[in-house]
């Protein structure tokens, strides 16, 4: 997780701590570096300290300990308005008493940019977010999605190198959110802006980011590209927070040849890939992704692990089928299958055999 000491880091948090009340640490020893042009998402449950990190970077909160650097220079003592960081707020924070054009022109005015220059930049920024004809309107006269675009344009109009966004799409409906996710990533990459994006929506984090930092309890649990995060979660929190997950608790019996033999609490024995278990006797949480479980066991290659299961419930979800199984004494084991023409629909009560490859089955720390 710690990747300090990187010299070409554009943004760097070094051993940053933050406490609001002097009693509890809201951010505990944060180390993070970002290269220029990266799109990094901070993902985590509500209250995990994401906003606090963003506010420290923007300068609205001071770090209790540690240093924050921008382009190699410590910015701890630079006031927010001199940091030149663009920011998109969750409620957009568009100034209600100014028109859209005035909102966009505001950062240029305070930078004493000439009138004609200003107008050109405002026009270009509005066109960039496809809001060209809306300059004369007030924020209240725009829909949520349009306000969102304007907020984005305003954060970009003064051409900052770093843009921070705090749950900017939280208030939009699903369809608009997906469209905006695409547009934001597209813009960020096109303009080469370094972006720190905060969300508690894992899909958003996975689809948009170059890298995702998973926050919990004031600490970064894992920082990795989306695919790695999903496929190789480093601990049980990440595994459970990202995507759906089947878990079984057990104790490590032995570790050999890169495989852990785990004694499940109900008595069964299975092989799993050890991720953060070290020795025999450790409590562990076995994690298997629902889509990696196969019930046509002859499709699996030899060496796969198989178990008996009984179908408890079949749920039709359109693009996929979600089947709940009774396995090893629990009844919350989920498998997902694609809705393909030849896909069999399992019937409740049916006795089947399920299996998975040992590398898809990960032995993580017990929570």
């Amino acid at each position: 997780m710690a990747d300090t000491g990187n010299n070409d880091a554009f943004v760097a948090f070094e051993r940053v701590q933050k406490s609001y009340d002097g009693e509890t640490l809201v951010v505990k020893d944060l180390n993070l570096t970002m290269p220029k042009g990266e799109f990094l998402t901070m993902l985590g449950p509500s209250g995990s300290g994401k906003t606090t990190c963003l506010m420290m970077l923007a300068g609205f909160e001071t770090a209790t300990h540690g240093e924050i650097k921008l382009d190699g220079v410590s910015i701890n003592n630079i006031p927010p308005h001199k940091r030149g960081i663009g920011m998109v707020f969750q409620n957009y924070a568009l100034f209600p008493h100014m028109t859209i054009a005035e909102n966009l022109s505001f950062p240029l005015e305070v930078r004493k940019i000439g009138r004609s220059d200003r107008e050109a930049k405002v026009r270009r920024a509005l066109e960039m977010v496809e809001m060209g004809g809306f300059g004369g309107r007030r924020p209240a006269q725009l829909s949520g999605g349009q306000q969102q675009r304007v907020a984005l344009a305003r954060a970009l109009v003064f051409e900052p190198e770093l843009v921070l966004m705090d749950e900017p799409l939280g208030a939009l409906d699903k369809q608009l959110r997906e469209k905006m996710q695409f547009e934001i990533t597209h813009l960020a990459h096109e303009l080469g802006i370094t972006t720190v994006y905060v969300t508690h929506d894992q899909t958003e984090a996975l689809t948009m980011s170059d890298r995702v930092a998973v926050f919990n309890d004031g600490k970064i649990q894992q920082i990795a590209p989306p695919d790695e995060l999903y496929e190789s979660p480093q601990n049980s929190f990440v595994a459970q927070f990202i995507g759906e997950n089947n878990t079984m608790e057990g104790t490590v019996k032995e570790i050999k040849d890169g495989l852990a033999v785990v004694q499940l609490d109900d008595g069964g024995l299975i092989d799993a890939k050890p991720v953060n278990v070290e020795k025999a006797g450790d409590r562990t949480l076995i994690s298997i992704r629902p889509e990696r479980v196969e019930f046509n066991c002859d499709r699996l290659r030899p060496g796969a692990h198989t178990l008996k299961a009984e179908v408890a419930e079949f749920i039709y979800m359109g693009d996929i089928f979600r089947t709940r199984l009774k396995v090893a004494g629990r009844d919350d084991f989920i498998i997902k299958t694609r809705n393909a023409p030849d896909q069999r629909r399992l019937q409740p009560g049916e006795q089947i055999e399920i299996g998975w490859l040992p590398e898809d089955c990960r032995a993580l720390d017990a929570p």
Binding site: F60, P80, A93, F95, H97, P107, V110, R111, R154
Partner: protein
């Protein structure tokens, strides 16, 4: 849709038009809502609307002259106002004033007209006392001719024209009506007297005077008409009637009760009737044309006089004109009231804004504590708070003592901070401050801190962010607070009364003076109406300039 072919009104399930069944459903709801608010509605109407309506009415109402001197007003209608009115007017005045004096209403009229012209009050008082003496001359003369004129019964029979005579009911009810207006009550019942039709044709003045005497005796004195000797005014009326040669001719053919006595009186020499001389003898101010002009000017039932007075103008023979400089007080008072209210509003904004800002930005618990401190003054009596300022600001007061002790002010030149405008502004700012802070606070509370952060992230300094982003959004709170404070200040009474001295009083102090001391309620009402109009105009102007939608008392 399936019913695109249907063109008639949309029908509900039971076939009635949908509109009607909706209305019926809503009516029950509306009635219930109305019943709930009815107590408040009635209270507002009675306690708020009605007094304002009454005030507006009083500011133009002027029925006292017409009610008290109805015949005089009638006679004055054709008076050209160049010289003292003629005998006819004085005769009418005699009868009007006689009745008014009997009813003890003449002094009220005197006080009313005294507002317009000082001296009139004593005119009505002395002449009201003298009308009896003026009429007594004729009573003595008539009794001399025939002692029957001293008998109540004789008069009663003569004026009713005997038991079988046709009665003149109209004359009686007219006179009762006149009395009702004067006494401002309604009389019902039988007077036990009806003037005879024949005799009231022959002796019109006497019949009228006797009829009103009869009505007054019956309703007001609650005596029996037939047992009461008539007023002196009745004798005077008879003397006037007998002067007319036509009367003698008519009497020749009359044979009702007392006809002989009347004929004898008509032939005997009676003192000439000269009411003009008699009144001028009673009070020589009656020959002042100016006084008569005032009576004529204020004889219509409605007048602009109070309003003219309230704006330092008066009605003169040449029309409406400004009062002489030493009589102008209300213009200055209005100006001072406006100026001081503006100063108070302004100081409230200056002092209140930071407090509201701090309150809006503190965590809830501390904000609540501060709110209690802001509201604390409301828990102390207004009088106590104002008096406390007296203690603070007076020349031997706390502030002066401190300044002297610090050596900033010499002992012999202590500052005058009370009983002037300064004292009023200080005390009233203190008292009205919460009314500024509360609306400001509730507006500021709704401004999310993210706006300021957004402005700073866009590169604005603290000051620019405040001035360009925060302040414009807090303007509705300032507007609401200012309207509230200004309107409260403009009508404030107690504080200026206590700490205002002579230079720091408001128009409301003058209004209070007219209500409780000078008893000129019409002028007080006119001043109050102007104050109301000023407030409404300001409100309207504010709406035009700032927009009343921009006034927020809360989220």
């Amino acid at each position: 849709m399936s019913d695109t072919t249907q063109t008639g009104p949309v029908l509900a399930a039971d076939g009635t038009p949908l509109k009607r069944s909706l209305r019926r459903a809503l009516r029950a709801q509306k009635m219930r809502a109305l019943a709930l608010i009815a107590p408040l509605l009635i209270f507002v109407l009675v306690a708020f609307i009605a007094p304002i309506a009454d005030m507006l009415f009083r500011s133009v109402e002027n029925q006292i002259v017409g009610n008290t001197l109805p015949m005089t007003v009638e006679e004055l209608r054709d008076w050209d106002g160049t010289e003292v009115p003629d005998e006819q007017v004085f005769r009418a005045l005699f009868f009007d004033l006689f009745l008014a004096a009997e009813a003890k209403e003449h002094t009220k009229l005197g006080s009313r007209l005294n507002y317009e012209q000082s001296g009139i009050s004593s005119l009505f008082r002395t002449s009201g006392r003298d009308v009896g003496d003026i009429g007594e001359v004729f009573q003595d003369a008539l009794t001399e001719i025939d002692p029957a004129f001293d008998e109540a019964r004789f008069w009663y029979d003569m004026m009713s024209g005997g038991a079988e005579a046709e009665g003149n009911e109209r004359l009686l009810s007219n006179q009762i009506g006149r009395l009702e207006v004067l006494e401002a009550t309604n009389f019902s019942g039988d007077v036990d007297f009806v003037p005879g039709a024949a005799i009231s044709d022959i002796l019109p003045n006497t019949a009228r005077a006797y009829a009103v005497f009869a009505a007054f005796t019956h309703f007001v004195d609650e005596d029996v008409v037939a047992e009461e000797e008539p007023w002196e005014a009745v004798y005077a009326a008879l003397a006037i009637d007998l002067e007319d040669p036509a009367t003698r001719a008519a009497l020749a053919g009359y044979d009702g009760p007392g006809a002989d006595v009347l004929r004898r009186a008509a032939d005997a020499p009676l003192p000439p009737v000269d009411m003009k001389a008699a009144f001028i003898d009673s009070n020589k101010d009656w020959q002042r044309v100016g006084f008569w002009k005032v009576i004529k000017t204020y004889s219509p039932p409605y007048t602009t006089g109070y309003f003219l007075n309230a704006v330092d103008m008066e009605k003169t023979a040449e029309g409406i004109a400004l009062r002489s400089a030493d009589q102008r007080i209300y213009g200055i008072l209005f100006q001072r009231t406006m100026f001081m209210s503006l100063m108070i509003t302004f100081s409230c904004i200056l002092l209140g804004y930071p407090v509201a800002w701090i309150m809006a930005n503190l965590p809830a618990r501390k904000a609540n504590l501060l709110m209690i401190l802001v509201l604390l003054p409301f828990w102390t009596s207004l009088l106590v708070r104002t008096s406390a300022w007296k203690v603070m600001l007076q020349q031997q007061g706390v502030i002066n003592d401190t300044l002297v002790w610090l050596g900033l002010v010499a002992n012999e030149s202590r500052l005058v901070m009370i009983n002037n405008q300064f004292g009023t502004i200080v005390a009233m700012t203190h008292i009205l401050l919460p009314f500024m802070i509360l609306p400001m606070y509730s507006v500021m509370q709704t401004i999310p801190p993210s706006y300021l952060r957004a402005a700073k992230s866009l590169g604005a300094t603290n000051w620019t962010a405040f001035w360009r982003v925060y302040f414009p959004q807090s303007v509705p709170g300032i507007g609401a607070g200012s309207i509230l404070v200004f309107i409260l200040a403009i009508g404030y009474y107690i504080t200026p009364e206590i700490v205002g001295g002579t230079t720091g009083t408001f128009i409301s102090n003058r209004i209070a003076y007219h209500i409780s001391t000078s008893l000129n309620w019409g002028l007080a009402a006119a001043l109050g109406s102007i104050l109301l109009a000023v407030v409404l105009i300001l409100y309207w102007a504010y709406d035009k300039i700032v927009g009343i939608d921009n006034v927020k008392l809360g989220g």
